[in-house]
């Protein structure tokens, strides 16, 4: 017989490459690159280290053009951060909404190494009236959904200046102690801990200090949500990840034996706070128990948890739910907020399993 299965990724979209982890294969605190989800907007550019340059410009005293080597020679910092795609768990929305039908695996937790963005901004000397920092990647194309731009555009996102200046925001060149893989932004990407993955621009080639809020495609049309001003709907860019937990095992629609101890396993993460509690229900929310953490609370990293479930004696379909809380007292909602459209799916997700003799 063939050997037992290896880790791999599930295709949600073939081109551009959009792949997710089978979360039931996750065990470790740090997600190996082999299991880390890939969310590309266009074909992955093939950048060469020898030719690579990172330009820092806009409202700065001293524009910079940094080679890969000069970046590597600057003081580095290492941060563990969970990245989650803003559309992760979209397949749980009923009725279904457009976009890649991510299940649970568009999330991962890795150790990132690079130069703090703040150090580059410091070196370039940003003007006093700068409000945002725009990060632009080398990946280009025409987006799939209207309003379509007049031609190909580069993937770009902005950060509010106060977040851009936090020391945890990195211009990273390593993931888990190794060079980035091409699909993860080789040779250089941004890492914006606490924000959805869309902020961590891959194949980063340009950093621009701007004096007015950036109104790019992925800031307004895509990766946005509806807020209200004086009762009128207005678009806002997605940014911070809210509190969320996921059950990694059992897998959705898994068959588990009756009357046995099953170790339920998952992880929880949040934005600018720490995960403090995970409650688990094995009866569709009627009763809740507290899960046990496997990792200490650490801002920006996920926190794995476990619970020994004595499975029912009565065969049937059971629904498991996990609900996390963070140090700001924020708890996962019971339902998805329709103003968030096809994003921010952080409500307690129903994991239906079959209990069988």
């Amino acid at each position: 017989m063939p050997q037992s299965s290896q880790v791999g990724l599930t295709i949600r979209q073939k081109e551009p490459t959009n792949l997710e982890a089978a979360v039931d294969q996750i065990n470790t605190f740090l997600t190996p690159a082999e299991l880390f989800y890939i969310r590309n907007h266009f074909a992955a550019p093939d950048l060469k280290i020898a030719e690579y340059a990172l330009r820092v410009g806009g409202a700065v005293r001293q524009p910079l053009a940094l080679s890969y080597r000069s970046l590597r020679e600057m003081p580095s910092k290492t941060v563990v951060a969970a990245l989650e795609c803003a559309g992760n768990s979209r397949v749980f929305l009923v009725p279904s909404v457009p976009g890649a039908q991510w299940e649970l695996g568009a999330v991962g937790n890795a150790e990132w190494t690079g130069v703090p963005l703040a150090a580059l901004l410091e070196r370039a000397g940003i003007a006093a009236d700068v409000c945002e920092i725009v990060l632009e990647g080398a990946d280009r194309g025409i987006p799939a959904e209207p309003p379509l731009p007049p031609g190909a555009i580069s993937y770009a996102r902005s950060l509010p200046l106060n977040k851009a200046q936090q020391e945890e925001v990195l211009i990273a060149y390593q993931m888990n102690g190794r060079e980035l893989r091409r699909d993860h932004g080789y040779p250089v990407r941004a890492i914006v801990p606490g924000h959805f993955g869309m902020a961590s621009v891959k194949w980063l080639t340009r950093i621009e200090a701007v004096r007015e809020p950036f109104q790019g495609y992925w800031q307004t049309s895509d990766y946005g949500y509806w807020d209200r001003v004086e009762g009128m709907p207005v678009r806002r860019p997605l940014a911070e990840m809210p509190i969320k937990s996921e059950i990694f095992r059992p897998r959705v629609y898994e068959t588990v034996p009756t009357n046995q101890v099953y170790e339920v396993f998952g992880a929880a993460w949040t934005g600018e706070s720490e995960v403090t509690e995970v409650a688990l229900s094995t009866d569709d929310g009627r009763t809740w128990v507290e899960a046990k953490f496997l990792d200490p609370a650490q801002r920006y990293a996920w926190r794995r948890w476990t619970y020994e479930w004595l499975t029912p004696q009565q065969p049937g379909k059971y629904t498991l739910l996990a609900r996390a809380k963070d140090a700001c007292g924020r708890v996962q909602p019971d339902h998805h907020d329709p103003n968030l459209g096809s994003y921010v799916i952080n409500h307690a997700l129903p994991i239906e399993v079959f209990v069988r003799d």
Copy 2:
């Protein structure tokens, strides 16, 4: 640490339930129900054995209404048959097309037990001019895609009379020796070996002998393809599965070590013939080797195969392809035929893997 992973299913659509197997978890000749894909068109009906009745009517001498018990008392037959969803592997189509984005797992091979449809037709006595047998399920609703019918319709498909009278076509009540699960058609479903899964109508409650070709929604609009008559495009219903092989391991985008023996594993199946050969390429089709079968050739069942691949010394991205041949000399094509729309994706599918030190 939590226990190692169990089998389960990947959500492609939450409601109606559309789930596929992670094919890298497949080992056995018979696919357990836990790993068998689910393709539902509407919510699964909750049928009770005590109230269940199967009506046989239309152009027959003696209409029948059979209880579950009376079906079970008739002589039974057991058949091993692979069922594959006609849209399986759709996620490999570039650019993407509408419909559930199945990868490789909307296929399974099981042992089905039931009463031959031919025995019921014999008992009812079909008229001499009957041309098709319509199978209708208890699942009802309004389909997602136009042309929308005026109201809710039941899922129904027809079979040409000559196929319906073949002894392998079953009115089945068991899968792998156990009662059908609800999502697989409990208590009774059709099994049409050699045809795509759409023919094996679940929650079967009505069999109708008809004198003209059935023009239902899933016969014309959906599960159809474009043929030509005198140069003019005409719709035809999908039916027989063509020859196809799939690589189950390595999984797509799996990372495998350099310079080691890796046991490539997969399965091949076909419609009204037997699989006779599987060729494997590990260099994107430049060279081919012959795989070794693990199962004998058996009409309607899949045939597992394996190949010991010595992985390259040179790290990089490699593309694996498998190409099967059947006893009629039919070989998988290199590309998908656009006349087949979003169905019949049986070309040699590229399995891209990363070879790493």
